[in-house]
Each structure stands twice: as structure tokens, then as C-alpha cells.
Amino acid sequence: MSSASRSAVLVCAWLCIASAALPARDFRVCADPDNAPLSREDETGFENRIARLVAAELGAELRYEWLPLRRGFVRKTMGSGSCDVFIGVPKHLSSVLTTRAYYRSSYVFVNGPSARGIDTFDDARLMALRIGVQLVGQDLAATPAGYALAATGHVDNVRGFTVYGDGPAAEREVDAIRNGALDLALVWGPQAGYFAARATPPLELRIVRPPASIVTAPFEFDIAMGVRRGDVALRDELDAILDRRRDDIDAILSQFSVPRTDLSRRASP
């Protein structure tokens, strides 16, 4: 073997190892393809932004498994082995192992001009107003806002928005306020903040003050990342990144107008 060909072999050996090692790992994210502002297939959601940040921090290639987060979504994605991480799930979701919570939000009142200032189910004006609520459509269950409305006698003036439909339920609720079909709506904070802030004029947001009678249905939830149960190593890595890049993640959430209850009791804007 000539020295030239020997060195070519050596170069190749070095390069080939390097190029094989370059995408050292995949960061495989399970995500909803059409759930603005959290996640979208064009990767414009805030969870997509956070995923990109974490993948870069891990030196990993970001890959997505797209599936609507509906009934059985953990089983159909992580459970089938097609992905390893949910960017945002409730901290107490028992079907996954969760990281430390990186934000906390709440159900909020999104108030149109006729409902300004409402932040409690006891507000006397509510009875005469048309109220929108998200319906989760699972096992006769409701969102905490749905339970609270029923418990405080708001039945006939409530309109439900199902998970299924043309675009996210929260967006349809905000549209209904803007076009006058609703006076206000009860919406999970991260969705409410985004759509309300981008309405013209922006709609008022108020963190829900839960009625005393509804003790078993929390209105606030801690949101964490979720990995496969037992995947402690990945969880620990993610915890470290959440800690290290906390300010950057807070900045992303702020750009998307996520109302936070772990920073301040006051909702934006």
C-alpha cells in the first residue's frame, strides 16, 4: 500500500468516525401537529422553540413524531417507542416520568368588552352573559372551569367548544368573543394568552379565582417535560438543562404571552 493510499485510509477512518459521530444522538419529541400556540408541524409553537433549544444543548438532532395529543396519546407515541420526550405535560401526569416543572399557569377568564374585570364565578354579571368553555370529551369528565360553571348554576348560558373541530378550541373561543357570539370564555392559560394577546383589540385576561366549593379540581397546573417511566437518565439531563437555560425558556414563554402563576399572581397583559 502506498503512503498516499495509506493516508487516504487514515483520513477516511478519521472522517468516517467523525461523521458517524456527528449526529451523536437523536432528541425524539412526541408532539401535536396542530395545537397552536404550543406545537405545530411547521415548528412555530413555543414547545417547538423549547425543543430546539434543548436539542442544541444536548448536541442532538431534533426529530419529531407528530400525533394529536388525544385519548391514548402516550401509548400511541412514547408507548410504541417512536419518541422519547413530551415538551409540556402536567407535572402530575402519571403515565410518564416528569422533570421539574418549568412553568405554572392557570385557567383564565378571557373577557370581551361586555365582561370586563370578571375573575370569579360569583360575579353577579355572569348570569346574563354568554360563556364559552373547553370540553375535553373523555369519560364524562370536564375541565375545572366546566365543573365550576355547573356548580355555580351556569348551565343555560354556557357554550361548549370540543377538542375536535376546525383549529384549536381556544382559538375558536377567542374568535367567538371577537365576533360577538360570546361575552367571555374560560380557557387554559397558555392557549388563552396567545390568542387573546393577538386579537385586535387584545382581549382582557384574568386568572380564575376558584370558587370555594370546587376544591378537588385545581385551576392551576405545573407543566413539566415528560419522558418514559423509568428513563431517569434522560429526566436528569433535562432537569439540568431546564435549570441552566431557565432564563431563555422564560423568554420564549413570555414571547408567547403565557400567563404565569409561578412568577406573579397578575396575568398579562
Binding site: 402536567p90 370540553l135 364524562l140 370536564a142 355547573a150 378550541a169 392557549q191
Partner: protein, 576 residues
Amino acid sequence: MVVAILLGGSVRAADDGDWTMPAHDYASTRYSALAEVTPANVAQLKLAWSFSTSIDKGHEAAPIVVGGTMYVVTPYPNHVIAFDLTKPGASVKWTFDPKANPKAQGVACCDVVNRGAVYADGRLFFNALDNQTIALDAVSGKELWRTKLGDIAVGQSITMAPIVVKGKVLVGNSGGELGVRGWLVALDAATGTEAWRAYSTGPDKDVLIGAAFKPFYPDDRAADLGVKTWPPDAWRIGGGTVWGWISYDPELDLIYYGTGNPGPWNPEQRPGANKWTSGIFARRPDTGDAVWFYQTSPHDLHDYDSVNESVLADLPLDGKTVKVLLRPDRNGYLYVIDRVTGRVLSADPFVHVTTSFGVDLETGALRYNPAKAPALGKVVREVCPASPGGKDWQPSAWSPRTKLLYVPHQNLCQDSVAYETSYIAGTPYVGADAKMYADPAGQRGAFMAWDPIAHRKAWSIAEHFPVWSGALVTAGDVAFYGTLDGWFKAVDAKNGNALWRFKTSSGVIGQPIAYRGPDGRQYIAVLAGVGGWAGAVVSGDLDTRDGTAAAGFVNAMKDLPDATRKGGMLYVFRLP
């Protein structure tokens, strides 16, 4: 009751040995007049041939047999396979792939099942999961038409088997828990054009309630109850889907079918009877006009869909012959209903029932037990029957010889013990954590024979797992059913004595049929392939550590993955 009248003027006796619709005949008897197989010889029954569908989801369909050809429709992707029964080993004549939208799989609540095709006038009709009804030329397998009836984007899917009545293909939707508004549609069998659509909620004009509507009970007689028994607008997404069985009485010219549970609201947010969900409609097949309605579970609190089969029989009651509808309902009662008027003649519990105290025969009302009503934060134990009911979709069979109804069913209760954090489409909430388990008698399933004249069980066979297959009974007085752990069984129709069993490669949730082959011999056919709500722990690879999976069903099915494996397989048996 055994006569099946086919369409287009061609009338043949049902005992010609064909099996043209999943329920065998319009009366939904699943009774075969073939008598070659008897209690005396069934022990000799041998496998004639078998065929793998190579699909791993739950196989609930009935094979269809017409003129020497057998047709099988699989779960999603809803392939139709035609077998030439005149060839040794029944070779495949053709296969049809409807190219159903894969996204429909994410919509179906409880496995991607299909309950079968139907044959009429040289055509085979079936539904694909993505809301398409398709007509094929039964000889060539060529597509004649397809009609899209619903939209997966709003949560709709179709799993039921269509039926053809007077030149119309009748099809209903699934997806009640997702905010789908239920309907039954009639399509012109020749063209696929929609003739009428009857909604299960909303104003009378949408429900096709008009001058012909004469319900037996006064509670059903006011105008627009499909609106007024709901909070404003809640009926628009109120459920009442039509994913079960349809029967037809040619003499009375009435079709009968059940409507599913109300949804997707929590019960507190939908006060009222929530008509016309969880009940039975009688309608005219030509126009869809409603003739009567009876609500088995008003303001349903427990997911007791009322989609179960309506078996039509003429019974000697109080010295005269009465045209009745037999209905083992999900709420745990076996109803005998006058099918002319909609009046409940009797309603007896056939399983352990704690959610109600009985049916008031004066008013027709189910007397709920308030202690078992679900409420946020309240622990409710021993809810019996559990949400799948005393009996779910799995259809019964009726023998005019024994005058017994053969009912595959389950004996399950459930606890709503804890409230767990849940998450749907980016929306967190706290929902009840249900866990199902065997009733106090301790056996999760049964295959029983019910005597509707004496109002009692004639006999019952306890099964380890819920019996999720259909039933078949023959003129040889042999009844057939399958179990989730993969036993296909024959029992004496008179006394329930075990006569024969065959171990299948996967659990049986299909509907057994009997037919006469081109060789003149009696054959018994059934699809194996575990799945459905009960078998999803195997077909969906659910985690047995999570008892709340499959809406709590997994808790009752933790030992199923050790008992069977997934995979569709068609089995056909014959005497030597």
C-alpha cells in the same frame, strides 16, 4: 321470524344456507336453519380451512356468504377479502383496499374495529373507519360507488355494519364522547345518494319527528324535546351516535335501532333527559320518519349507550302472540318491548345492578340509584354494571325452536376511586380514575340463555373473561360463541352443556355464522383476532400496570396478555 326477505323482488328463504348480513336476517336472530351439526355429532367438528388476515387489531366482523363466495371485512385498514368456496381451501378471489385515511385511527375510541359487510342484489356494502360507505360489485370486487358521510376532523368515525332495507343502505356514526352529534343516514343502494338523515338530537325536523310520531310514554310527546331536554345549544354536540345494530320488521315496515350515550358534557352541565340519546327508535325506512322512541337511560350517567341489538320475535304472552323486541341493554336490564307501540312489557336485570332500582312499567322510567351517581370529588364504589354495561356491542342470538335468547355478556363493576391529572390536546384537567373488576359473583363473563316468557335465565355458563364475541344458534340446537382467551365453543342450546371447543390463535371477538357450502355441507365460520374495548390491552399493547387504561377496562383484563396474542385469523369448521 326466520324468513329473510332480500331486496329488489328476489325473495328467498333464509335456510338456503347463505348468510347475507351480520345478524343473518332482518329480525337479527343469528339463527341458522341448518341442522346437520347437532349435539350428538358436534364433538366431531374439524377445521376445514383457515386464513390469516395479517391485521393485528380487533376482528369483530361476521363473515358474509352468498352463492359460493365468502366476504370478510377487516378492522382498519378495512380490506375486503372474497373467498371462492368452490375451490379447495377456498382460494382468494379478490381483495379490495378502500385506502381509508390513516388519521381515522386516532379518532376511534376503542380499537379500530369493523362489524361487517352486508350483501344485497349483487352488491356488497361496507363502511370504512374514515366515514365512507362503499358499494362493490359482489362478483368482481369492482367499486360501484362511495359516499363520505362524516368528518374525522370533528371526531366522527364509522365502525358499524350497514343494513340494506327497501333499496336503502342504512349507516350510523361513532364518536359520541368526542362531541359528535349522532345520526342515521339512508343511502340509495343503487347510487350512494343520501335519501334521508335522522339526527339523534336537535329540533324535530332534524330528528325526523312529525305527524307519524306516536311514542308510548307521555314524557316523549312534546315538541322539540331533542332541544328542550338540553341546555341551549348543548344538543348540537350531544352524542347519541348510532354505532350498533339495526333490525327491520317488513310487516310493520319499521326499522329499530339504538342511540348512544349523551356527550361530551359532564352530566352536571347537561341537566335534562338529553333526548334522544341512550334509547330505541322505530322509524319508517322509506322516509326516516320516527314512529316511536323509548329512552332506556334518560340523562345517562354511566356511559350506558343503548346501541345493543333489537331481536324481533313473536312471543306467546298472556294467551296471545305479541310482536316484541328483545333487548339486553347496557344498563343491565333485559327488555321485552311491544314493537308495535314501544311499550315496555317487562324489564328484568340479567346482571348485578346497583346503579338503578328497576324500571317502572307504568312510566317506563329507569329508577336511578342516586348513591351511584358520579360527582366531582366523590368516591363512588361498586358501580354495577360498569361502563361497558351488562352487555356491550356483542350481539345475541334467538332460536325460534327453544324460544331462548343466547346472550354473550360481561359481569363487571367499577369504582371511581381517585382523581388523576389528565391531558387532552394541550388542556390539563382532573378526571375520575375508573377501575373495573368482576362483580361479586367473581366471574367476569358469561354466555347465558334467557327465557323471555318466564323472565329468567334458563342457564348460564361462567367465563373467566368478558364474552366479547357474537352468538350463533342453529336448527341443530347448537349454540356457538368465542372467548377472549381464544376458545371457540359449541354448547347444547337446550341446557348449555359444553359439547366442543377449539383453541384459536388469538382471542375471539367476532360473530360466528353457519352456512351451506357448495358441497351441500354445513359449515361454521368465525374470525379470531383479539381487540375491541375489552381486548385493547392486547391489540393496543396497553400497559397492564395502568389499570385505568382503556377507560378503566385494563384493570379487569390484566391477565389477558398472558392468555392470548393478537392477529386476525379466519376459521371455518365442518363435520368429517
